[in-house]
């Protein structure tokens, strides 16, 4: 005999897979009955499909919290549109819980008798415009280059020879594949643009101070690449996300290294220089050369801190091996993006890096977030055991800086201290007044 409580647990389980928490939208199997009723009185329903471009990039660059925010905002805009632009009685849904594909089911109306391809394409474009202006270009404009929306559509009609559910699935799949074709075209042209940037060496370097939290003196600088201004590749995150897709990772990474080390101000600076390096690039024989890029520019290896992210590395053991070799050559090592992935600290225990860099998503609002403090405290413990220094990234407020200082984080970087700029702009070793 089932107890009433068992039904409740069952209900909650069902709800957790059919109702999306971030957007408060149902997964589309939840609206099948609504669609059936919609079709009772009509011949056709339009299916509009909205996908977000670069969603994996947003999640891997900014973390899942930010992606949830993007999805939430997207749902809000679509809800507004549902009340204004979309025909009355339209129904919104997600493809699945925590998914990133939005669906709008559009009925024929009195004014709009024909729900056909042309009508749906226009409608989709109008909504696309709103999504772009209200989500990609305003709330999340710092990732506008990464984030874009696409639309697809299909017409759903009833047929006595087919099961209703399967008609819906087919229409949804058709709308999705139409959207994906647009996306593929875009990817091809982006890939070409990135190749041109690399061929033309169109990459600049900015430098951001890494500051001692106690003394507020500059401990070193992190070199940050920038693509052509106002292009979608201005931010290094976007460049590298695309270079991975297009398969020009190694070339781009090498170019960034050359530009950073070739900077005259770098050669004359005698503190630490944090250099981002892809894990694969650690195998580059260049590092070991006595007459290579590094010594040619008059830079001592011990001044270089190679920053490696654990994101996207499938094989932590391989990373450990590579980092070991570079430590033997005299480089200092930093493990980047800790607090975003699960692998970071596990790898740290084995690699024994000199620096652990806590990701900005962990730092954001840490002064009032108990669980972030708890995670950060573990990070500091690990660092102490490994005799490594902790660098808190993305510090944007005095409150964050104070909380981090109180917890014992040694180093920090972020706009609260100084944003990225040309090396010459920082002048002396003192950090900027604020």
């Amino acid at each position: 005999m089932k107890r009433p409580e068992d039904y409740r647990t069952g209900y909650l389980k069902m709800r957790s897979v059919l109702h999306d928490r971030a957007t408060s939208l149902p997964a589309f199997p939840m609206v099948l009955d609504e669609l059936r009723r919609m079709l009772d009185q009509r011949r056709f329903i339009g299916v509009l499909h909205f996908g977000i471009d670069g969603i994996e990039m947003v999640e891997s660059l900014y973390g899942w919290q930010v992606l949830d925010q993007v999805l939430r905002r997207t749902a809000e805009v679509l809800r507004d549109q549902c009340a204004s632009t979309l025909p009355e009685g339209s129904v919104l849904a997600l493809d699945r819980v925590a998914g990133d594909e939005f669906l709008a089911f559009v009925p024929e109306t009195f004014e709009q008798h024909e729900v056909d391809g042309g009508f749906l394409a226009d409608l989709g474009d109008r909504i696309l415009e709103r999504l772009r202006s209200e989500v990609a270009d305003s709330d999340f404009d710092d990732m506008a280059a990464t984030l874009d929306f696409q639309r697809g559509y299909a017409v759903l009609s009833l047929s006595p020879y087919h099961r209703f559910e399967r008609r819906v699935y087919t229409a949804v799949a058709e709308s999705r594949s139409r959207e994906q074709r647009v996306r593929e075209r875009r990817e091809r042209s982006n890939g070409e643009e990135l190749r041109r940037i690399i061929d033309d060496s169109a990459v600049r370097m900015l430098f951001q101070p890494v500051v001692d939290l106690e003394t507020e003196e500059i401990h070193g600088y992190e070199a940050l690449a920038r693509g052509p201004q106002d292009s979608m590749f201005e931010m290094p995150s976007t460049m590298f996300a695309w270079s991975g897709r297009v398969g020009v990772d190694a070339a781009l990474d090498r170019l960034c290294r050359e530009v950073a080390l070739g900077e005259p101000a770098v050669a004359s600076y005698d503190g630490k220089l944090f250099l981002n390096v892809l894990p694969e690039s650690l195998d580059d024989p260049e590092w070991a050369l006595d007459d290579g890029l590094i010594s040619r520019n008059g830079i001592d290896r011990s001044r270089l801190v190679l920053e490696v992210s654990d994101r996207g590395t499938e094989d932590p053991a391989r990373l450990v091996e590579r980092m070991e070799r570079l430590k033997e050559l005299g480089f200092a090592l930093a493990l980047d993006d800790i607090g975003t992935g699960y692998a970071g600290l596990a790898a740290a225990e084995k690699v024994r890096p000199d620096y652990l860099k806590a990701d900005a998503s962990l730092v954001r609002g840490i002064e009032s977030n108990a669980i972030k403090q708890e995670i950060f405290a573990s990070l500091i413990q690990v660092a102490e055991r490994l005799d490594a220094q902790v660098v808190a990234e993305g510090v944007e407020s005095a409150a964050e800086a104070d909380a981090l200082r109180a917890m014992g984080a040694g180093l920090a970087q972020g706009y609260h201290f100084a944003g990225p700029g040309p090396m010459a702009s920082f002048g002396g070793k003192k950090s900027r007044d604020h």
Binding site: D6, R8, T9, L12, L345, A370, I371, I375, S378
Partner: protein, 147 residues
Amino acid sequence: MKNLHGNFWLIPYLYEGGMSETESKARILVVDDDSEIRELTRLVLTGSGYDVDLATHGSEALDRIALMPYDLVLLDINMPGMDGWETLRLIRADVDLDHMPVVMFSVKGQVVDKMQAMQEGAVDYIPKPFEVDVLASRVGRVLEGQA
């Protein structure tokens, strides 16, 4: 003495450690399969002036929560049957309970668990064994909405 504006009934509270007693009658549900931990936690939290209920596993916790939501749930991760993660997910699946603060407490203490706790919507993570003061102060902080 503060100006009480005629609220003389406040006087005993002022003498006995301020008004904390009236303010802190928050209801807390402690979910743990280990009876010793359960009892210890209950002692600490009742001692700090909270109303404490106990549950021995996830589904019992969901039953209790269904009867009346709590101000805070302290949830162990490793439990037989429905574990803490599943319980948390199901609490979060309930529209009415979406904002009920849940604090994970576990002997696991791994960073990955703490990250997962954040991802699943817990507000804090207290490693076990805990110090009595730490538990009380962190629970207090969550209830004040500081977490």
